[in-house]
Assembly symmetry: C2
Homo-oligomer: 364 residues x 2
């Protein structure tokens, strides 16, 4: 690898293994697998899923739906409360025969959808199982019922209930994450049982990488939609969703300055490469990433005492332990494991594999 500037490196073996593991887990649990493609946002990586038998996906924007539809994906959930201003864009996808699922959390969008859509679309009702971002609270049965009826009233197909238990990212133990999954399953299954006789095909769909990775058996839901697991990252490692060996992306960053007094190594590679996501650790420190030594065939272990203590637009400051500090010189390339791979990947136009291949991704 001839790297001269900040570059997101992809270990494609690890990435493919993450995909295979999740496919197997879904199969073993008897649940349908609809991976969220927003993390990688790459047609080529999408094909790695297809090779494992995956045939339906979730995306986070209409543009992303079009990007993957054009690469042969026919069953796409646009997994964000639908932005009605893009209704006409959905017609283009439906016209070409794609199965598109939209999400709503009130009956407000239905008028616009009814007027604007020329083809049949399936609608999921977004349920809030505790994350408190969007969705109807799972115990607000009256409102849920009202929206389900309105979907039928507007002549659209009610597909089921969908949730994102994003509060798993705030959990402080593995057990708490298991509890979130079980609580989510219980709430979603309660809704399913209530509406099943009327809508025998309804699907309950859940998805967030921590609960899906940590829960051993996913039985009890119909569909899972994790996304981040394709790469994992430092946040998932801290949550216990993955091991260090499963993390598949890393930022390669040139060392541009060293400060012996403060034992700091400064690299070229900052917020415009990693994002400003950080982990608030119990010690009180903010951790923006962890440095490792890069090798030609991958990367080494975490350096116990070293971490990225701050990032500015193009710089990251690594608080280094003695060993790491002494090992690196100005002009070296070091690796930084990103806190949040979705955001770091979004900031790059392509991935460089360990074999030196460029894998293109779309811009959000």
């Amino acid at each position: 690898m001839n790297i001269i500037e900040p570059t997101l490196i992809l270990d494609s073996m690890k990435c493919r293994q993450n995909i295979r593991s999740m496919v197997k887990k879904a199969l073993d649990s008897g649940v349908s697998f609809r991976p969220h493609f927003k993390t990688h946002n790459s047609r080529e990586i999408g094909r790695w899923f297809r090779e494992e038998g995956v045939d339906k996906i979730a995306v986070s924007s209409v543009k992303m739906a079009g990007y993957f539809a054009d690469d042969g994906w026919d069953d796409i959930t646009i997994a964000i409360t639908f932005n009605v201003l893009q209704t006409h864009k959905i017609n283009e996808l439906l016209k070409s025969g794609k199965k598109i699922n939209l999400i709503i959390d009130s009956d407000k969008p239905l008028d616009v959808l009814k007027k604007g859509l020329k083809y049949e679309v399936s609608i999921f009702v977004k349920i809030d199982t505790g994350y408190n971002r969007t969705g109807i609270l799972s115990d607000n049965i009256d409102e849920i019922e009202k929206v389900v009826r309105s979907i039928n009233g507007a002549g659209m197909r009610f597909a089921g209930f969908l949730t994102h238990s994003g509060h798993s990212y705030r959990a402080t133990s593995r057990n708490e994450i298991l509890n979130i999954y079980n609580d989510t399953k219980r709430k979603m299954d309660g809704l399913k049982q209530r509406f099943l006789s009327e809508y025998p095909d309804l699907v309950i769909s859940v998805g967030d990488t921590p609960t899906i990775s940590i829960t051993p058996d996913l039985r009890g839901v119909d569909e899972i939609r994790p996304g981040n697991f394709v790469f994992y990252d430092l946040m998932q490692l801290a949550l216990g969703s993955c091991t260090i060996d499963q993390i598949a992306v890393i930022l390669a960053a040139p060392v541009i300055s060293k400060n012996t007094l403060r034992k700091e190594v400064v690299v070229y590679g900052g917020a415009v490469h990693l994002s400003k996501e950080f982990i608030s650790e119990s010690s009180g420190r903010s951790n923006y990433g962890e440095p490792v030594i890069l090798k030609t065939d991958g990367w080494g272990k975490l350096s116990d005492g070293s971490y990225v203590s701050s990032v500015s637009q193009e710089h990251s400051v690594i608080k280094a332990d003695d060993k790491f500090f002494d090992m690196v010189s100005i002009g070296d390339i070091v690796g930084i494991i990103p806190v949040h791979s979705c955001l770091a990947a979004n900031l790059t136009g392509s991935y460089l594999t360990l074999d030196g291949e460029r894998i293109v991704r779309s811009i959000s």
Copy 2:
């Protein structure tokens, strides 16, 4: 404006006024003006500076230097401690006759530069005046002298001393920012006086938007390099660097969900549009942006009680006061003033002006 998805809006009148004000301030203070172009990273906006008589710039990457060099900029400082792995790329710029200034904070890069450069380059020595990111501490005269001598020894031109007083961003009062400027000026001038007889052309260069915006008279330095002032943002407003009327960019974001119980408005537009930068307010809350009502000719006042309380990849959650909550509906577009315009602008490929014109920017 026919906006249907998250879009960064530019008020070009405000932007041009910010440029004119800074040009005038530099002129009135008798200092040379070398704006940092990393905030806008757009050739078209660069030309607005040229129309005001600006003829030299700072950039934050070799790629950005090439992007602007190709648009006729001939005097460019690459204002980041130089990444020696890109030495050969500098030859391409020098070969075409450009004046390029590089920055070092140790003598380590000089060997590589000496071997790799085929044309004359000017070198600034980076001084740490209190930010503690890169640079030699201003009172470490022995080290500074060693590096200056090494530049000459390597056959390159010593251009002067350069600093970025980024600790101004941590200041909690206007007075503290004024003190940082005066302290920076004193330290830099001390170095100038020490080396002036030997290097009569040496320049002291300072630059950070808070001190440069707030200090009424900039006399006492040779060159200023602010960048963010071209757009300003919520962080600069909080620091007192600008008024609300000077902020020139805003994210237009469609409303996709409302929660009456929590008085929250959720918009499509999140970390991949605004970044995850936030302001830690004295009240303890984290502020990721402030919502305003968008109008065809610009945007309204801040809504006193409303702010963005969290952002995830594509969502922002606005904690709304009653008035703002009642004014907006699903399908409306609201404006969000970004906390950090440099990072928000970096996440977009273009700006949309209030006249509906697309202004392209380069990707970092």
